[in-house]
Amino acid sequence: MRIPCPICGERDRREFYYQGAAVALERPDPEAADDAWDAYVHLRDNPAGLTRDLWYHEAGCAAWIVVTRDTVNHEILDAELAGEAGR
């Protein structure tokens, strides 16, 4: 699998660190109820199909990237910088 870093271009998967579903961009309010924090930290949609993951270009430009990917065939449809995806 090769991941298209928006800064560096298409690079080997081994340059990246996988963080999981891109939920970090939807952090609840600090005062939110326990259920909201449970959903944020633990519960996952876990789709068989399109998902949005958070990857860190650890051995490259150190950017955090949101990757839109198909979990069934590993096809990557889109990758954007997490800072821009979060806006």
Binding site: M1, D12, D45, P47, N73, H74
Partner: protein, 417 residues
């Protein structure tokens, strides 16, 4: 049809024409007391123990594919009880005891082979941790022997002991650990449940879960609706999708784990051996192939195949540990889908929906758990109370933070297991 030496002998003399199918192929009935979603090892063993221990036989196991086609046929067949944390430790101990009587109990040879399992260590700190784990195993009533370097060398002379980066300091030997024939486990449980009256329904995919007023009433399937008093979701890697039909989100992310097998060789590896520094494990199947694997691919996946970076990593680890393995040609590789929980431990519990039960989160260790998982889920389904051996496998432990079982000590976070 019961298996016996006499039966094998007479069939051998009469052209093997008397063997019958091992289980029926019934049409689904409109209603059951209990419907189990998922005909893998865990679902089948649940049905078997429901019938054997609790006399509940108005039960259906619904399998979307065929028996033995999912994770129960995609593992590396290792059976062990060398867990450390309370909660896990007594559960796997319970499972190993069930394994030890399984072939007789099922009247089906699951080829459980207690050839011994050796976890190697490569540093002083790792030795201390393994000594502690061994003590926990002995306290639990299981067996563990701490081997020094010479002790390992006598048993496994083919390892590279003087590797510059990862010299072998010793190993934790678990004599009762070993392997079992995974297909036979599935077939034996299916046959055992079927003989007691359970319906094993293959090619029947569940497409919906019916809930009325907070209570489960049945399931929709590709072969029509089926009403049920209780429904158990036992779908391993697909647990997320099955639970979504009931409007639930699970603390689960599904990842792929690869395994590899070489061409058949003469006996060369007598035990199950695991490499403490690179996460590589290997055993030799009764047919002669070296069966080995390593880490997850470490990203969400439903493709039942892996990617090359992890294949390369596993091969490197194998070559580091036992250079002789480089002579063997890899015959094939495959991947299974693992339902990974944040703490790496499983869930056997009721849900907030009345009559709906959950068995999932076996991560990369579901095969050895097959007997106890079914035994404990059957107990929960039949009595309404969790079995003592699985009381720690609560669904709510992530929400309330009580009783997390982070066996690897890496933190309760999805991408770390």
């Amino acid at each position: 049809m019961r298996f016996s030496g006499w039966k094998v002998f007479t069939e051998g003399l009469t052209g093997n024409r008397g063997w019958a199918p091992h289980w029926r192929d019934p049409e689904p009935k409109p209603e059951y007391d209990i419907v189990i979603i998922g005909g893998g090892g865990h679902g089948l063993s649940t049905a078997y123990y429901l019938a054997r221990d609790h006399g509940l036989t108005n039960v259906a196991v619904l399998e979307k594919g065929y028996i033995g086609g999912g994770n129960v046929g995609r593992n590396t067949t290792i059976v062990r009880a060398n867990y450390f944390l309370p909660g896990n430790s007594e559960f796997y101990s319970h499972s190993l005891k069930l394994w030890e009587g399984l072939s007789e109990d099922l009247n089906y040879n699951v080829m459980h082979s207690q050839r011994g399992l050796i976890n190697l260590f490569h540093s002083d700190g790792q030795r201390d941790a393994f000594a502690r784990r061994g003590n926990a195993m002995i306290n639990q009533g299981d067996d563990a022997v701490l081997l020094d370097r010479d002790g390992v060398r006598r048993m496994l002379p083919y390892l590279d002991f003087d590797n510059g980066r990862f010299p072998i300091h010793g190993g934790l030997y678990h004599p009762r650990g070993g392997t079992a024939r995974h297909d036979a486990v599935a077939w034996g449980y299916a046959r055992g449940a079927d003989r007691r009256g359970v319906d094993i329904i293959q090619n029947c995919e569940v497409t919906g879960i019916d809930i009325d007023g907070g209570r489960v009433t049945g399931v929709q399937t590709s072969r029509g609706p089926i009403r049920a008093g209780k429904v158990a979701m036992v779908a391993a890697g697909r647990s997320g999708q099955v639970a979504a039909m009931a409007g639930m989100r699970l603390p689960v992310e599904s990842h792929v784990l690869q395994a590899f097998v070489t061409e058949g060789l003469k006996p060369v590896i007598d035990h199950v051996v695991s490499f403490g520094m690179g996460h590589f494990y290997v055993s030799q199947s009764d047919k002669g192939g070296l069966v080995f694997g390593g880490d997850l691919d470490f990203y969400a996946s439903y493709a039942q195949r892996g990617n090359l970076p992890m294949a390369e990593h596993v091969m490197e680890a194998g070559m580091t540990l036992m250079p002789m393995i480089g002579k063997a040609r890899v015959l094939r590789s495959w991947g299974g889908i693992m339902d990974m929980t944040p703490d790496g431990s499983p869930i056997i519990d009721r849900t907030d929906i009345d009559g709906l039960y959950l068995n999932c989160g076996w991560c990369y260790g579901g095969f050895k758990a097959v007997p106890a998982s079914g035994h404990c889920l059957a107990h929960l389904l039949a009595t309404g109370r969790p079995h003592a051996a699985a009381a720690g496998f609560r669904l709510g432990r992530f929400r309330d933070g009580v009783g997390l079982m982070d066996e690897e000590g890496t933190g309760a976070q999805h991408n770390l297991h």
